[in-house]
Assembly symmetry: C2
Homo-oligomer: 327 residues x 2
Amino acid sequence: MSIEESIKTYGARIDALLKETIPPDKKDFLSEPIWHHMHTGGKRIRPALCLITCEALGGNIDEAIHFALAIEVMHNMFLMHDDIEDGDTVRRDQPTVWVKYGIANAVNAGDYLLACAFKSILESPVTLENKIKLLQVFTLTYGKTVEGQALDINARAAEDYSVDKYMEMVQLKTGYYLACGMVGGAIVSGVSEQVVEKIWMLGKTMGPAFQIRDDLIDLTHGKGRGGAIGSDVKEGKASFLYSYTLGVASQTDKKRLHDIMLKPRDETTDDDIKSVLEVYKKYNTLKHAQDYADNLIKQAYKTIDDIPVEDKTVFKEIASFMAHRMS
Amino acid sequence: MSIEESIKTYGARIDALLKETIPPDKKDFLSEPIWHHMHTGGKRIRPALCLITCEALGGNIDEAIHFALAIEVMHNMFLMHDDIEDGDTVRRDQPTVWVKYGIANAVNAGDYLLACAFKSILESPVTLENKIKLLQVFTLTYGKTVEGQALDINARAAEDYSVDKYMEMVQLKTGYYLACGMVGGAIVSGVSEQVVEKIWMLGKTMGPAFQIRDDLIDLTHGKGRGGAIGSDVKEGKASFLYSYTLGVASQTDKKRLHDIMLKPRDETTDDDIKSVLEVYKKYNTLKHAQDYADNLIKQAYKTIDDIPVEDKTVFKEIASFMAHRMS
């Protein structure tokens, strides 16, 4: 089975368990906003990667599926809270939860998802030792992602935002998160600590590579939040492109970028976006970002070569899949 | 040592561990908002009750202190998110976190507290079995409290809000939460499941009793959020007083209460508060609420009589303490 097929198959299993965990027909102020959000899409990629890794390493996916679900649930909790934090009003052409149900219900429904996530892991049919390990992995990932989000929220105001700072932020915000499923699958399958450590390392290169690609897509194809190009610029998001250009641009161009960054979303015009694109063009930023991401992917493959398991196929397939089409 | 003295002693230990867990001098967008919030006060009563229970039942408080800290941290996470959800701008004469640092940082710093709470429990020096039990108790409490909050947030719009609905909400929102520390302390001390079950039951009467008392205080002495009387009325909070009166009042009086309930906070006048107080007076609501709370306390003492331990002193002391001065 290809990764794409596995994701489809395992995604369906995750969906079934999700419906057991949070019944969609329950008309309260938790299930309703949560399922409004869930229906905006999601391919269950993260939990599927957990199960794929578990199986490839000889584990039993029935032991990993509760953990896999927890990752998917946490992912959606972050999306729900991020939409509030970023002031995003539309997700995949639907109003975001806070817009439809109010900030109070959106904060609270997100909090509820986290309870569901921990409950799910506690119900895993694994040994006590593994249960604790899974909870440690999950708690670590959750905390680090929040730390990354704190850096991200407050990045726009910084005048000296550098590539190093961007990388620190994105490793925290997406690195742990991306590796977490694979790590959980690996733990359930009973591999050594050394394997687990290498998978964490993989997250530190794959996560940023994926995020830089996402930053690029926003300026080349648009991110599908209403379809427009440059939504990161409107939002004032400190992207890789922004951090890189601040490091190489003239004072005038830096100021131009920073001023647009600080503009409130609804005051950021299409001309501002054009202006940012011009500056990026001047410094060849998009090309540099692509190269930087490619280099991270290369590092990831090197890390995979060092994973102390005989058959590294699954990791290579996952890396290739992520590099090409994760969303 | 009296409960008051124990709370002081144990509260200081909790404070020390809290400072280790979240360093106050770290100037980032997590520690700073969290410590701004922490400095608005808090007597560390919940975690102290955990340690007091643990010790009284023959347990080692060093094994319970990480769990105790987790409760305090969760408590503050809820306060931080509740302030956003309720639109409260002032807490103990200080601006709330979302007012001072923005909604994004307030949501995120609250999320971070929860990571710290789980991390703390995972670091407890207890057996694997007990660690899992503590995590289950904590996750259950966290989830139920969020469920209660969902009912609370959406209660004001309901025209048929009843005492039964109030009790369901408040048992979820405050009952588990109040019992959680004692339950954790009891688990660490190694008592039977039967003892633990009775402590949970205790929460179901003590929690609502405490909350009804809190509802009363708002109309008799004010709650200290700026000091004014009737802040629950302004906030549109569906209190015991409100739910009880809806069940006994005439259509006209019901409409009067409901209309004021639905008014936005800044449009609710002092005359509105007076008007609500008049309706409550007409139906003897305050006296009835006091009786209802007293009856719950009586039930709590009965539950304590049934706890299968020899010396029930600690539970009686805690109940008496809570009934008289918890805040």
